[in-house]
């Protein structure tokens, strides 16, 4: 084991892992994120806490991760290169680890252009692959990016994203290979709707043996309505929603579309369970967190590994 991360333990055991996510609130009310997170308790192994997602200001990922940790959940600290330089990143990583947060996700982040502060300067001191390398060196070599030794290195289980559907498709496996080379431990993919294309990407991943070097969690987002499907298809960069999905949702009455969305999502999970190299699922139920328990249950992913999802004792003991 490289770390004490619960997610690492579950993945290493060979069990399919389940992660989900919580977007921190657009305000300073801790009960909001606690309520969202509480819905996930016992149904997922770890919870991503987004970092100013869609470039909108929210409660900091680190602060929200601490709140989740205090609830005995296992937060995954998301960190984007957009808002922090390498000094700020490293200090937040040290702080996170000191609070028992041992799993993180390295991202470049949505461009400020899409958010509520389009006038902000984006930092981009380092890119997401360089961030992976930095966190790995902090853990394995015990050094800061600048080269100095760390007094008590943070042992982070390192995640990153992969989008098999962005262009150019032919270098998407290579891009994963670069992240593996930099030291990534697990991957959460972009939402999968085009299963054929995803399976083609996975074939490329397996051909290079990358599936044996990194744990891949398939990204799943249930569609609430045909409107959402159309929006994702046309408005969200790097999203691949085939016409069949839009047609299928459009083919049922409005009040049945959410159910149909869940059905599609369950079928997707069922099919992907059989894809060699898929080691778990990352459920991104956007503003629909209350559906996660149902999806996990109906997908046959319960019970979650016992004693791992709830370790309040450990938190109370103060040890990461």
């Amino acid at each position: 084991m490289k770390t004490a991360s619960t997610l690492e333990k579950i993945l290493a055991s060979g069990e399919l892992a389940v992660t989900s996510e919580c977007g921190p609130p657009r305000g300073a009310l801790p009960e909001k994120i606690r309520a969202k997170a509480d819905l996930l308790r016992g149904y997922v192994d770890a919870v991503n806490v987004t970092d100013n997602q869609t470039a909108m200001v929210r409660m900091s990922s680190l602060a929200a991760c601490i709140l989740l940790r205090q609830m005995g959940l296992h937060p995954i600290l998301q960190m984007v290169t957009r808002d922090r330089n390498r000094l700020a990143m490293q200090s937040d990583i040290l702080g996170a680890y000191a609070h028992g947060i041992d799993t993180m996700l390295c991202l470049s982040g949505d461009h400020p252009h899409f958010g509520d502060h389009p006038m902000a300067a984006a930092v981009h001191d380092i890119d997401s692959i360089q961030m992976i390398q930095m966190v790995k060196d902090m853990r394995d070599a015990g050094v800061f990016q600048g080269g100095e030794k760390i007094d008590g290195p943070p042992r982070m289980f390192i995640g990153a994203a992969a989008n098999p559907f962005a262009d150019p498709f032919e270098l998407r496996v290579s891009r994963l290979a670069k992240k593996v080379k930099a030291g990534v431990d697990f991957i959460q993919t972009q939402c999968i709707y085009n299963l054929d294309k995803f399976e083609k990407w996975m074939e490329g991943v397996r051909n290079r043996g990358l599936h044996e070097q990194v744990y891949i969690l398939a990204g799943i987002t249930p569609m609430k309505s045909v409107g959402m499907a159309r929006y994702m298809k046309h408005k969200v960069p790097g999203m691949d929603v085939p016409d069949e999905v839009v047609k299928r949702l459009g083919g049922v009455p409005k009040d049945k579309q959410a159910d149909e969305g869940i059905k599609i999502c369950l079928e997707t999970i069922a099919r992907l369970k059989n894809v060699e190299g898929v080691r778990g699922f990352h459920l991104m139920a956007i503003e629909w967190e209350q559906k996660v328990p149902e999806i996990v249950e109906r997908a046959g992913l319960l019970p979650r590994p016992e004693g791992l999802t709830l370790d309040v004792q450990n938190v109370l003991g103060g040890k990461p």
Partner: protein, 222 residues
Amino acid sequence: MITAERKPMQELIQCIKPYRSILLAGCNECVTVCAAGGRKEVGVLAAALKLHFLKEGQPLEIQEITLERQCDPEYVEQMAPSIGQVDAVLSMACGCGVQEVARRFQDKPVFPALNTKFMGASERQGVWAERCQGCGDCVLGFTAGVCPVARCSKRLFNGPCGGSSNGKCEVDPNLDCAWQLIWDRLKSLGLTERYEENLPAKDWRPAGGAGPRKIVREDMAL
């Protein structure tokens, strides 16, 4: 070249309103090429300003001059004979020229008539696009002649983000994805294996991270 665009007329009028006579100074270099501040643009702006202030009943006297280079003290000196006859200078050079004029004529108000934009190239008639941010440690030899610092919206050094779509950037569908261009060039050059070499975190000191930059050539210094 350094590209620039003229500021809105209203902003220029506000700047020079308090003055009765100005020296309108163009530059014969980059801003002439990008049609923002050369001799021709000096003439056009002078005529427009004169007309405006005449209509306001406050005639403005404008002397016109276009220097070979406004960023060079040798040429800026050519403004010396006129400077005592005017209340202020309106410079149509890039920010480098404006500052050189301000440095030389300590007690004369100087205003920029242009917004200096970027170092770029002409894509076609009337279109200029950013190509270089002067990061001080050129990586073009590695990235197949396409700059990820200046041309990737997220300044990624290791490949396209998840928002690259049909060769375009997620920020603007009219903007080429720099990494698509790099990948296409690497393919043409038969160098695709190079893509998998991870570029390490950049040292930003040569890019200005160590404070304002200066080049000193001892071999040329007098």
